[in-house]
Amino acid sequence: MDQAVMTGGFADPPIQSPQAFRAAMTAMARPGDILAVTGAQAPAPVSVAASVLLLVLCDPGTPVWLATSHDSADLRRWIAFHTGASVVAARGEAVFALGTWDSLLSLADYRIGTPDYPDRSATLIVEMPLLRAEGAVLQGPGIKESAQLSVPEVAPLRVNRALFPLGLDFFFTCGSDLAAVPRSTVVTDPAEVV
């Protein structure tokens, strides 16, 4: 196993993981808020923020699916070494999925939970070229009136919202920044907002 696989983890996990989780939790509680995290770097092309989320959330109990944009032998070994999570071949088995938006589609293939257990659904970590508080309008729990976030596409997120309380939850990552759009958020195209 080469050195690159073994580096890029937290230097002090009991301290860094709660700090990273607080950012992830705040993002999920306040959709649209963009927060910065540090401390982890998985092999390219994984962003710092996505690397941090993998370390904070994944372990042997959470199968991960890697989209073609991110799947590599190095990343599989990094995930195995740092988290112990298994990388699965089918999206439908994944608890977490990582990739760019286009390579993660279609959303219909992931687990959305069951009416009895809506929590048994996948969380998608979407790598973005840009992440800004502009574009699509977000409304719903965690948002005072409305927020804006440069989500890649509105229509699939609206379909996802229509499944509530089932559905997928999203982290959007870019560099060291992350934001979240849970299934409870109503996403509207800015052109439609009067």
Partner: protein, 289 residues
């Protein structure tokens, strides 16, 4: 501080709890099952809240712990000491200074801000449990949004007492979907559930975590002709003179003497420090002089 890993729980356990918290925030009011751990305190002493707090705490946090509004009762003192010892975090009794507040059965009087997290200790998370004891059935009722039984319970209150007699753990509907038990807070506190802070609920024995994101719509169940009313004892605080805070009734002698005091000790102390005086405040000061 080297005797314990930060905030007591191991990393694997924290990850499991953190995943549950994220799903709880994504589906407000839904109770997410989690693998509750044995904690060095008995069930019923806030093990759920303690595990949620442990999964959320960062070294920079300033922790406040209250039990029925008070910072100085056994449960609050022991949990505060637990985190002082295992996480080394700063603690406070001032609501405004705290970043994370763990609470048993009260919401502080002072409005919470967006930078604060409120963690509730929950004994029975299932609002339908006393109406339907089977978990398989209550789970089905939640999935089908079958909440008629809760309204029957409230109606029976009216039929027997002429009013909705449920005074604590008053059921709420979250974002028009899940009926949720707000833990046994007095119904006086229900309006405060719509808050700028993140609210997390942990039930250790029952192994459930649920959450309310900020500004989440939380409606106390009621009827058009019997609207919800956030009631309190019809008195003013005998120490600080507040007419708007939630009051505890304290028996002070064997002759039926009683006084009413704020249940939120920090609120009461802050008011007294600002010069507010209630009916019995002077005598208390003389007593301790």
């Amino acid at each position: 501080m080297t005797e314990y890993t930060f905030a007591y729980l191991d990393e694997q356990t924290k990850r499991m709890i953190r995943r549950a918290i994220l799903k709880a925030l994504a589906v407000p009011g839904y109770q997410v099952p989690f693998a509750s751990r044995e904690m060095p305190m008995p069930y019923g002493w806030g093990t759920g809240g303690v595990q949620v707090s442990a999964a959320c705490l960062v070294p920079e946090d300033r922790l406040k712990v209250i039990d029925q509004g008070a910072d100085d009762t056994t449960n609050a003192v022991s949990i505060r000491r637990f985190f002082e010892k295992t996480a080394g975090v700063a603690t406070t009794t001032r609501t405004a200074e705290a970043t994370l507040i763990q609470t048993r059965h009260r919401i502080p009087e002072a409005p919470l801000t967006r930078d604060q997290i409120l963690v509730y200790q929950v004994p029975i998370p299932e609002p339908l449990r006393f109406l339907e004891p089977r978990e398989t059935e209550t789970r089905k009722m939640h999935s089908l949004e079958e909440y008629g039984l809760v309204h029957v319970k409230l109606y029976e209150d009216i039929a027997r007492h002429g009013q909705i007699a449920t005074s604590y753990a008053y059921p709420v509907k979250v974002e028009g979907r899940y009926v949720m038990d707000p833990s046994p807070i007095p119904k006086f506190d229900n309006p405060k559930l719509e808050s700028a802070a993140i609210q997390l609920f942990g039930a250790g024995r029952e192994q459930r975590i649920y959450a309310l994101p900020p500004y989440c719509q939380v409606v106390s169940l009621d009827f058009e002709d019997h609207p919800f009313e956030a009631s309190k004892a019809d008195h003013i605080c005998d120490l600080c003179g507040s007419a708007t805070s939630y009051l505890d009734e304290v028996i002070v002698d064997d002759a039926g003497g009683r006084m009413f005091v704020c249940s939120d000790t920090d609120y009461c102390e802050t008011r007294r420090a600002a010069g507010h005086r209630g009916r019995l405040a002077a005598t208390e000061e003389e007593h301790f002089a």
